[in-house]
Amino acid sequence: MCIKKGISAAIALARYDQNIMGEEVKLFRTWSSPFALRIVWALGIKAIEYETVFEDISNKSPSLLQCNPVHGKVPVLLHNGTPIAESLVILEYIDETWKQAPLLPVDPHERAMARFWAKFGDDKVLGSIWSVFIKQGKEQEEAMVPAMENLKFLEEELKGKKFFGGETIGFVDLALGWLANLIGLLEEIVGLKVVDGEKLPLLSAWMQEFGDAPIIRDNWPARDGMILKFQALRDATIAAASK
Protein backbone atom coordinates (compact mmCIF):
# COMPACT_ATOMS: atom_id res chain seq x y z
CA MET A 1 0.00 0.00 0.00
CA CYS A 2 2.76 2.41 1.00
CA ILE A 3 4.71 1.57 -2.16
CA LYS A 4 1.66 2.19 -4.36
CA LYS A 5 0.99 5.54 -2.68
CA GLY A 6 4.63 6.44 -3.13
CA ILE A 7 4.56 5.70 -6.86
CA SER A 8 1.32 7.66 -7.37
CA ALA A 9 2.79 10.63 -5.55
CA ALA A 10 5.92 10.44 -7.72
CA ILE A 11 3.83 10.36 -10.88
CA ALA A 12 1.68 13.30 -9.75
CA LEU A 13 4.79 15.30 -8.96
CA ALA A 14 6.38 14.43 -12.29
CA ARG A 15 3.23 15.55 -14.14
CA TYR A 16 3.26 18.83 -12.22
CA ASP A 17 6.93 19.29 -13.14
CA GLN A 18 6.23 18.52 -16.80
CA ASN A 19 3.50 21.17 -16.95
CA ILE A 20 5.61 23.77 -15.14
CA MET A 21 8.65 23.09 -17.35
CA GLY A 22 6.52 23.30 -20.53
CA GLU A 23 8.01 20.07 -21.80
CA GLU A 24 7.10 18.98 -25.28
CA VAL A 25 7.02 15.26 -25.99
CA LYS A 26 6.04 13.88 -29.38
CA LEU A 27 5.97 10.28 -30.54
CA PHE A 28 6.16 9.34 -34.21
CA ARG A 29 4.56 5.95 -34.68
CA THR A 30 2.41 3.83 -36.96
CA TRP A 31 -0.90 2.32 -35.81
CA SER A 32 0.54 -1.20 -35.79
CA SER A 33 4.27 -1.02 -35.04
CA PRO A 34 5.10 -3.27 -32.06
CA PHE A 35 8.30 -1.25 -31.51
CA ALA A 36 6.36 2.00 -31.19
CA LEU A 37 3.95 0.32 -28.75
CA ARG A 38 6.84 -0.10 -26.33
CA ILE A 39 7.14 3.66 -26.17
CA VAL A 40 3.37 4.18 -25.83
CA TRP A 41 3.43 1.81 -22.85
CA ALA A 42 6.50 3.40 -21.24
CA LEU A 43 5.08 6.91 -21.56
CA GLY A 44 1.78 5.60 -20.17
CA ILE A 45 3.40 3.87 -17.20
CA LYS A 46 5.31 7.04 -16.33
CA ALA A 47 2.19 9.18 -16.96
CA ILE A 48 4.02 11.45 -19.38
CA GLU A 49 1.82 13.62 -21.54
CA TYR A 50 2.68 13.57 -25.22
CA GLU A 51 1.43 14.20 -28.71
CA THR A 52 1.17 11.34 -31.19
CA VAL A 53 2.08 11.68 -34.85
CA PHE A 54 0.82 8.72 -36.90
CA GLU A 55 3.00 8.01 -39.90
CA ASP A 56 2.12 6.34 -43.18
CA ILE A 57 5.13 4.18 -43.96
CA SER A 58 4.47 4.35 -47.69
CA ASN A 59 4.52 8.14 -47.50
CA LYS A 60 6.82 9.23 -44.69
CA SER A 61 6.53 12.78 -43.45
CA PRO A 62 9.42 15.24 -43.92
CA SER A 63 9.44 15.61 -40.12
CA LEU A 64 10.09 11.90 -39.60
CA LEU A 65 12.86 11.83 -42.20
CA GLN A 66 14.44 14.87 -40.59
CA CYS A 67 14.25 13.34 -37.12
CA ASN A 68 15.56 9.94 -38.17
CA PRO A 69 17.67 10.52 -41.27
CA VAL A 70 19.73 7.35 -40.75
CA HIS A 71 16.88 4.80 -40.71
CA GLY A 72 13.72 6.79 -41.55
CA LYS A 73 11.79 4.49 -39.23
CA VAL A 74 9.34 4.70 -36.35
CA PRO A 75 9.31 5.02 -33.42
CA VAL A 76 11.02 8.35 -32.91
CA LEU A 77 10.62 10.29 -29.69
CA LEU A 78 10.95 14.05 -29.97
CA HIS A 79 11.68 15.64 -26.58
CA ASN A 80 11.78 19.43 -26.60
CA GLY A 81 12.73 19.28 -30.26
CA THR A 82 15.49 16.66 -29.84
CA PRO A 83 14.93 13.32 -31.60
CA ILE A 84 15.77 9.90 -30.19
CA ALA A 85 15.43 6.79 -32.39
CA GLU A 86 15.53 2.97 -31.90
CA SER A 87 12.92 1.70 -29.47
CA LEU A 88 15.22 0.15 -26.83
CA VAL A 89 17.41 3.28 -26.89
CA ILE A 90 14.27 5.39 -26.46
CA LEU A 91 13.11 3.25 -23.51
CA GLU A 92 16.43 3.80 -21.72
CA TYR A 93 16.26 7.53 -22.47
CA ILE A 94 12.73 7.72 -21.04
CA ASP A 95 13.83 5.81 -17.95
CA GLU A 96 16.82 8.10 -17.37
CA THR A 97 14.89 11.32 -18.03
CA TRP A 98 11.70 10.62 -16.06
CA LYS A 99 12.60 8.80 -12.85
CA GLN A 100 9.12 7.86 -11.64
CA ALA A 101 7.98 4.23 -12.06
CA PRO A 102 11.47 2.98 -13.01
CA LEU A 103 11.67 0.39 -15.80
CA LEU A 104 15.22 -0.84 -15.25
CA PRO A 105 16.51 -2.18 -11.93
CA VAL A 106 19.14 -0.36 -9.89
CA ASP A 107 21.70 -3.17 -9.55
CA PRO A 108 24.21 -3.16 -12.46
CA HIS A 109 24.13 -6.94 -12.96
CA GLU A 110 20.33 -6.98 -13.00
CA ARG A 111 20.38 -4.10 -15.47
CA ALA A 112 22.77 -6.04 -17.69
CA MET A 113 20.45 -9.07 -17.54
CA ALA A 114 17.43 -6.91 -18.46
CA ARG A 115 19.29 -5.50 -21.46
CA PHE A 116 20.35 -9.05 -22.39
CA TRP A 117 16.78 -10.41 -22.46
CA ALA A 118 15.46 -7.40 -24.37
CA LYS A 119 18.19 -7.89 -26.97
CA PHE A 120 17.51 -11.64 -27.09
CA GLY A 121 13.88 -10.86 -27.84
CA ASP A 122 14.78 -8.61 -30.75
CA ASP A 123 17.74 -10.57 -32.12
CA LYS A 124 16.37 -14.11 -31.82
CA VAL A 125 12.79 -14.56 -30.62
CA LEU A 126 11.17 -12.16 -33.08
CA GLY A 127 12.93 -13.63 -36.13
CA SER A 128 12.28 -17.23 -35.09
CA ILE A 129 8.54 -16.63 -34.52
CA TRP A 130 8.34 -14.76 -37.83
CA SER A 131 9.96 -17.73 -39.60
CA VAL A 132 7.24 -20.03 -38.27
CA PHE A 133 4.62 -17.57 -39.40
CA ILE A 134 5.79 -17.12 -42.99
CA LYS A 135 6.48 -20.77 -43.76
CA GLN A 136 4.38 -23.78 -44.55
CA GLY A 137 4.47 -27.56 -44.20
CA LYS A 138 7.80 -29.17 -43.42
CA GLU A 139 9.69 -25.85 -43.46
CA GLN A 140 7.29 -24.52 -40.85
CA GLU A 141 7.79 -27.63 -38.69
CA GLU A 142 11.55 -27.13 -38.89
CA ALA A 143 11.19 -23.44 -38.02
CA MET A 144 9.28 -24.39 -34.87
CA VAL A 145 12.42 -25.98 -33.36
CA PRO A 146 14.50 -22.81 -32.81
CA ALA A 147 11.32 -20.85 -32.00
CA MET A 148 10.43 -23.27 -29.19
CA GLU A 149 14.01 -23.27 -27.89
CA ASN A 150 13.92 -19.49 -27.65
CA LEU A 151 10.53 -19.48 -25.93
CA LYS A 152 11.79 -22.07 -23.43
CA PHE A 153 14.58 -19.68 -22.40
CA LEU A 154 11.93 -17.05 -21.69
CA GLU A 155 9.89 -19.60 -19.73
CA GLU A 156 12.98 -20.33 -17.58
CA GLU A 157 13.56 -16.65 -16.99
CA LEU A 158 10.02 -16.22 -15.63
CA LYS A 159 10.52 -18.80 -12.85
CA GLY A 160 9.40 -17.34 -9.53
CA LYS A 161 8.26 -14.09 -11.16
CA LYS A 162 4.96 -12.57 -12.19
CA PHE A 163 6.58 -10.33 -14.78
CA PHE A 164 10.08 -10.34 -16.26
CA GLY A 165 10.59 -7.21 -14.15
CA GLY A 166 9.54 -9.07 -10.98
CA GLU A 167 6.42 -7.84 -9.21
CA THR A 168 5.87 -4.99 -11.65
CA ILE A 169 6.15 -4.48 -15.40
CA GLY A 170 9.66 -3.49 -16.40
CA PHE A 171 12.01 -2.99 -19.32
CA VAL A 172 12.01 -6.62 -20.46
CA ASP A 173 8.21 -6.88 -20.27
CA LEU A 174 7.88 -3.86 -22.55
CA ALA A 175 10.56 -5.20 -24.92
CA LEU A 176 8.86 -8.61 -25.17
CA GLY A 177 5.33 -7.24 -24.92
CA TRP A 178 4.64 -7.78 -28.61
CA LEU A 179 4.45 -11.53 -27.80
CA ALA A 180 1.35 -11.01 -25.67
CA ASN A 181 -0.61 -9.70 -28.64
CA LEU A 182 1.03 -10.93 -31.81
CA ILE A 183 1.38 -14.60 -30.84
CA GLY A 184 -2.39 -15.03 -30.53
CA LEU A 185 -2.98 -13.28 -33.85
CA LEU A 186 -0.36 -15.30 -35.70
CA GLU A 187 -1.62 -18.54 -34.19
CA GLU A 188 -5.11 -17.74 -35.45
CA ILE A 189 -3.86 -16.91 -38.96
CA VAL A 190 -1.73 -20.03 -39.43
CA GLY A 191 -3.87 -22.36 -37.29
CA LEU A 192 -0.91 -23.47 -35.20
CA LYS A 193 -0.41 -23.35 -31.43
CA VAL A 194 2.96 -21.79 -30.63
CA VAL A 195 2.63 -20.89 -26.95
CA ASP A 196 0.94 -23.94 -25.46
CA GLY A 197 -0.32 -23.42 -21.88
CA GLU A 198 0.85 -26.90 -20.93
CA LYS A 199 4.34 -26.69 -22.42
CA LEU A 200 4.93 -23.01 -21.54
CA PRO A 201 2.71 -22.33 -18.51
CA LEU A 202 4.66 -19.37 -17.13
CA LEU A 203 4.91 -17.63 -20.51
CA SER A 204 1.19 -18.24 -21.11
CA ALA A 205 0.35 -16.76 -17.71
CA TRP A 206 2.62 -13.78 -18.34
CA MET A 207 0.97 -13.09 -21.72
CA GLN A 208 -2.38 -12.99 -19.93
CA GLU A 209 -1.16 -10.93 -16.95
CA PHE A 210 0.76 -8.43 -19.10
CA GLY A 211 -1.99 -8.18 -21.70
CA ASP A 212 -4.57 -7.43 -18.98
CA ALA A 213 -2.65 -4.55 -17.40
CA PRO A 214 -4.67 -1.40 -18.15
CA ILE A 215 -1.91 0.61 -19.87
CA ILE A 216 -1.14 -2.38 -22.09
CA ARG A 217 -4.69 -3.53 -22.76
CA ASP A 218 -5.94 -0.04 -23.63
CA ASN A 219 -3.30 0.44 -26.30
CA TRP A 220 -3.40 -2.73 -28.38
CA PRO A 221 -3.88 -1.90 -32.06
CA ALA A 222 -7.24 -2.82 -33.63
CA ARG A 223 -7.46 -6.60 -33.83
CA ASP A 224 -9.26 -6.78 -37.17
CA GLY A 225 -6.74 -4.48 -38.78
CA MET A 226 -3.87 -6.56 -37.41
CA ILE A 227 -5.34 -9.84 -38.70
CA LEU A 228 -5.79 -8.34 -42.17
CA LYS A 229 -2.33 -6.83 -42.20
CA PHE A 230 -0.49 -9.96 -41.10
CA GLN A 231 -2.53 -12.27 -43.29
CA ALA A 232 -1.58 -10.07 -46.26
CA LEU A 233 2.09 -10.07 -45.21
CA ARG A 234 2.13 -13.85 -44.91
CA ASP A 235 0.46 -14.31 -48.30
CA ALA A 236 2.85 -11.90 -49.98
CA THR A 237 5.91 -13.54 -48.43
CA ILE A 238 4.82 -17.04 -49.39
CA ALA A 239 4.04 -15.90 -52.92
CA ALA A 240 7.46 -14.23 -53.27
CA ALA A 241 9.24 -17.30 -51.91
CA SER A 242 7.57 -19.65 -54.40
CA LYS A 243 8.75 -17.64 -57.42
Partner: protein, 219 residues
Protein backbone atom coordinates in the same frame (compact mmCIF):
# COMPACT_ATOMS: atom_id res chain seq x y z
CA UNK B 1 37.01 -7.53 -1.22
CA UNK B 2 39.05 -8.01 -4.38
CA UNK B 3 37.03 -8.30 -7.57
CA UNK B 4 37.42 -11.51 -9.53
CA UNK B 5 37.16 -10.79 -13.21
CA UNK B 6 37.42 -13.36 -15.99
CA UNK B 7 36.93 -12.82 -19.69
CA UNK B 8 36.06 -15.71 -22.01
CA UNK B 9 37.42 -14.52 -25.31
CA UNK B 10 38.75 -15.33 -28.79
CA UNK B 11 41.73 -13.39 -30.08
CA UNK B 12 40.26 -12.23 -33.42
CA UNK B 13 36.78 -11.29 -32.14
CA UNK B 14 36.00 -7.59 -32.55
CA UNK B 15 33.43 -8.09 -29.80
CA UNK B 16 35.95 -9.56 -27.37
CA UNK B 17 38.31 -6.69 -28.17
CA UNK B 18 35.69 -4.16 -27.03
CA UNK B 19 35.63 -5.72 -23.58
CA UNK B 20 39.45 -5.86 -23.40
CA UNK B 21 39.59 -2.12 -24.19
CA UNK B 22 37.00 -1.29 -21.52
CA UNK B 23 38.79 -3.34 -18.86
CA UNK B 24 42.14 -1.68 -19.62
CA UNK B 25 40.53 1.78 -19.69
CA UNK B 26 39.28 1.15 -16.16
CA UNK B 27 42.67 -0.20 -15.03
CA UNK B 28 41.22 -3.58 -14.10
CA UNK B 29 43.11 -6.82 -13.57
CA UNK B 30 41.44 -9.84 -15.08
CA UNK B 31 42.05 -13.40 -16.17
CA UNK B 32 41.65 -13.96 -19.88
CA UNK B 33 40.63 -17.36 -21.13
CA UNK B 34 40.89 -18.16 -24.83
CA UNK B 35 38.04 -20.40 -25.94
CA UNK B 36 38.32 -23.02 -28.65
CA UNK B 37 35.20 -22.14 -30.64
CA UNK B 38 35.14 -25.63 -32.18
CA UNK B 39 35.20 -27.21 -28.73
CA UNK B 40 33.48 -24.83 -26.33
CA UNK B 41 34.36 -25.20 -22.67
CA UNK B 42 31.81 -26.33 -20.06
CA UNK B 43 32.34 -22.94 -18.42
CA UNK B 44 31.28 -21.06 -21.56
CA UNK B 45 28.23 -23.28 -22.01
CA UNK B 46 27.30 -22.74 -18.36
CA UNK B 47 27.88 -18.97 -18.40
CA UNK B 48 26.21 -18.29 -21.76
CA UNK B 49 23.68 -21.09 -22.30
CA UNK B 50 21.49 -18.93 -24.56
CA UNK B 51 24.06 -18.04 -27.23
CA UNK B 52 27.16 -20.10 -26.27
CA UNK B 53 29.26 -17.25 -27.65
CA UNK B 54 32.16 -15.10 -26.51
CA UNK B 55 32.81 -12.61 -25.09
CA UNK B 56 31.48 -13.43 -21.64
CA UNK B 57 32.58 -11.39 -18.64
CA UNK B 58 32.42 -13.26 -15.35
CA UNK B 59 32.48 -10.84 -12.40
CA UNK B 60 32.63 -12.48 -8.98
CA UNK B 61 31.08 -15.58 -10.52
CA UNK B 62 28.21 -13.77 -12.30
CA UNK B 63 28.17 -13.79 -16.13
CA UNK B 64 27.44 -10.85 -18.38
CA UNK B 65 27.02 -11.52 -22.13
CA UNK B 66 26.82 -9.45 -25.34
CA UNK B 67 29.66 -6.97 -25.81
CA UNK B 68 27.75 -3.64 -25.73
CA UNK B 69 25.96 -4.83 -22.57
CA UNK B 70 29.28 -5.91 -21.02
CA UNK B 71 30.90 -2.54 -21.82
CA UNK B 72 27.95 -0.64 -20.26
CA UNK B 73 28.15 -2.91 -17.21
CA UNK B 74 31.86 -2.22 -16.79
CA UNK B 75 31.19 1.50 -17.19
CA UNK B 76 28.44 1.41 -14.53
CA UNK B 77 30.30 -0.67 -11.96
CA UNK B 78 33.66 1.12 -12.26
CA UNK B 79 32.21 4.54 -12.85
CA UNK B 80 34.91 6.61 -11.23
CA UNK B 81 37.59 6.06 -13.85
CA UNK B 82 37.57 6.85 -17.59
CA UNK B 83 33.80 7.07 -18.11
CA UNK B 84 32.85 5.68 -21.52
CA UNK B 85 29.26 6.93 -21.60
CA UNK B 86 28.37 10.56 -20.89
CA UNK B 87 26.05 11.50 -18.01
CA UNK B 88 23.47 13.43 -20.03
CA UNK B 89 20.53 11.18 -21.06
CA UNK B 90 20.37 12.54 -24.62
CA UNK B 91 24.13 12.12 -25.15
CA UNK B 92 23.83 8.58 -23.80
CA UNK B 93 20.94 7.81 -26.17
CA UNK B 94 22.98 9.26 -29.04
CA UNK B 95 25.92 6.99 -28.18
CA UNK B 96 23.72 3.91 -27.83
CA UNK B 97 22.07 4.69 -31.18
CA UNK B 98 25.40 4.75 -33.01
CA UNK B 99 26.69 1.64 -31.22
CA UNK B 100 23.51 -0.14 -32.31
CA UNK B 101 24.02 1.11 -35.90
CA UNK B 102 27.57 -0.26 -35.91
CA UNK B 103 26.38 -3.61 -34.56
CA UNK B 104 23.69 -3.97 -37.20
CA UNK B 105 25.87 -3.13 -40.18
CA UNK B 106 29.63 -3.52 -40.02
CA UNK B 107 30.07 -7.16 -39.01
CA UNK B 108 27.64 -8.61 -41.56
CA UNK B 109 28.85 -6.42 -44.42
CA UNK B 110 32.51 -7.02 -43.65
CA UNK B 111 31.84 -10.74 -43.44
CA UNK B 112 30.18 -10.75 -46.86
CA UNK B 113 33.21 -9.07 -48.39
CA UNK B 114 35.56 -11.90 -47.52
CA UNK B 115 33.08 -14.77 -47.97
CA UNK B 116 31.31 -13.84 -51.21
CA UNK B 117 32.24 -13.12 -54.81
CA UNK B 118 30.89 -11.19 -57.79
CA UNK B 119 27.70 -9.16 -57.38
CA UNK B 120 27.15 -10.13 -53.74
CA UNK B 121 30.63 -8.95 -52.81
CA UNK B 122 30.29 -5.72 -54.80
CA UNK B 123 26.96 -4.93 -53.14
CA UNK B 124 28.47 -5.55 -49.69
CA UNK B 125 31.46 -3.31 -50.47
CA UNK B 126 29.21 -0.50 -51.65
CA UNK B 127 27.00 -0.74 -48.59
CA UNK B 128 29.96 -0.95 -46.19
CA UNK B 129 31.48 2.19 -47.67
CA UNK B 130 28.12 3.99 -47.37
CA UNK B 131 27.93 3.02 -43.69
CA UNK B 132 31.53 4.06 -43.02
CA UNK B 133 30.88 7.42 -44.72
CA UNK B 134 27.82 7.93 -42.52
CA UNK B 135 29.96 7.14 -39.47
CA UNK B 136 32.68 9.49 -40.72
CA UNK B 137 29.99 12.16 -41.00
CA UNK B 138 28.92 11.51 -37.43
CA UNK B 139 32.54 11.84 -36.26
CA UNK B 140 32.80 15.19 -38.01
CA UNK B 141 35.65 17.33 -36.71
CA UNK B 142 35.65 15.75 -33.25
CA UNK B 143 38.81 13.85 -32.19
CA UNK B 144 36.64 10.96 -31.01
CA UNK B 145 32.99 9.93 -31.40
CA UNK B 146 32.78 10.64 -27.67
CA UNK B 147 33.92 14.24 -28.30
CA UNK B 148 37.14 15.26 -26.60
CA UNK B 149 37.32 11.88 -24.92
CA UNK B 150 37.38 8.30 -26.16
CA UNK B 151 33.95 6.80 -25.48
CA UNK B 152 31.38 4.08 -26.01
CA UNK B 153 30.99 4.53 -29.77
CA UNK B 154 34.77 4.65 -30.24
CA UNK B 155 35.08 1.34 -28.37
CA UNK B 156 32.30 -0.17 -30.50
CA UNK B 157 33.84 0.76 -33.86
CA UNK B 158 37.61 0.80 -33.41
CA UNK B 159 37.79 -2.97 -32.97
CA UNK B 160 36.75 -3.41 -36.61
CA UNK B 161 39.78 -1.40 -37.73
CA UNK B 162 42.15 -4.38 -37.41
CA UNK B 163 39.85 -6.23 -39.84
CA UNK B 164 39.92 -3.41 -42.44
CA UNK B 165 43.10 -4.70 -44.10
CA UNK B 166 41.48 -8.12 -44.62
CA UNK B 167 38.28 -6.54 -46.00
CA UNK B 168 40.33 -4.34 -48.33
CA UNK B 169 42.53 -7.21 -49.58
CA UNK B 170 39.74 -9.62 -50.36
CA UNK B 171 37.41 -6.89 -51.60
CA UNK B 172 40.10 -5.10 -53.55
CA UNK B 173 39.32 -1.57 -52.37
CA UNK B 174 40.68 1.10 -50.07
CA UNK B 175 38.76 2.40 -47.08
CA UNK B 176 41.24 5.24 -46.57
CA UNK B 177 40.66 6.52 -50.11
CA UNK B 178 37.01 7.20 -49.35
CA UNK B 179 37.09 7.75 -45.58
CA UNK B 180 40.42 9.41 -44.74
CA UNK B 181 39.09 11.05 -41.57
CA UNK B 182 37.86 7.72 -40.27
CA UNK B 183 41.27 6.13 -40.83
CA UNK B 184 42.91 9.12 -39.12
CA UNK B 185 40.55 8.48 -36.19
CA UNK B 186 41.61 4.79 -36.02
CA UNK B 187 45.26 5.87 -35.81
CA UNK B 188 44.38 8.35 -33.06
CA UNK B 189 42.66 5.57 -31.12
CA UNK B 190 45.63 3.24 -31.58
CA UNK B 191 47.78 5.78 -29.73
CA UNK B 192 45.85 4.83 -26.61
CA UNK B 193 47.43 1.85 -24.86
CA UNK B 194 43.99 0.36 -24.10
CA UNK B 195 43.39 0.07 -27.84
CA UNK B 196 46.88 -0.90 -29.04
CA UNK B 197 47.13 -3.63 -26.39
CA UNK B 198 43.69 -5.04 -27.25
CA UNK B 199 43.78 -5.19 -31.04
CA UNK B 200 45.78 -7.84 -32.88
CA UNK B 201 48.00 -7.04 -35.87
CA UNK B 202 45.89 -6.58 -39.03
CA UNK B 203 48.31 -8.88 -40.88
CA UNK B 204 47.56 -11.64 -38.40
CA UNK B 205 43.83 -11.12 -38.98
CA UNK B 206 44.43 -11.25 -42.73
CA UNK B 207 46.30 -14.56 -42.45
CA UNK B 208 43.54 -15.94 -40.26
CA UNK B 209 40.96 -15.01 -42.92
CA UNK B 210 43.11 -16.78 -45.56
CA UNK B 211 42.91 -19.93 -43.41
CA UNK B 212 39.17 -19.53 -42.89
CA UNK B 213 38.58 -19.14 -46.61
CA UNK B 214 40.52 -22.34 -47.26
CA UNK B 215 38.53 -24.10 -44.57
CA UNK B 216 35.19 -22.96 -46.02
CA UNK B 217 36.27 -23.65 -49.58
CA UNK B 218 36.07 -20.00 -50.68
CA UNK B 219 38.43 -19.27 -53.52
Amino acid sequence: MADEIMLLDWWSSMFGMRVRIALVEKGLKYESREEDLNNKSPLLLEMNPVHTKIPVLIHNGKPICESPIIVEYIDEVWKDKSPLLPTDPYQRAHARFWADYIDNKIFQLGGKIWTRKGEDQEAAKKELMECLKILEGELGEKPFFGGENFGFVDVSLVTFSCWFYAYESFGNFSIEAECPKLIAWTKRCLQKSSVSSSLPDPLKIHDFVVQLRKKFGIE
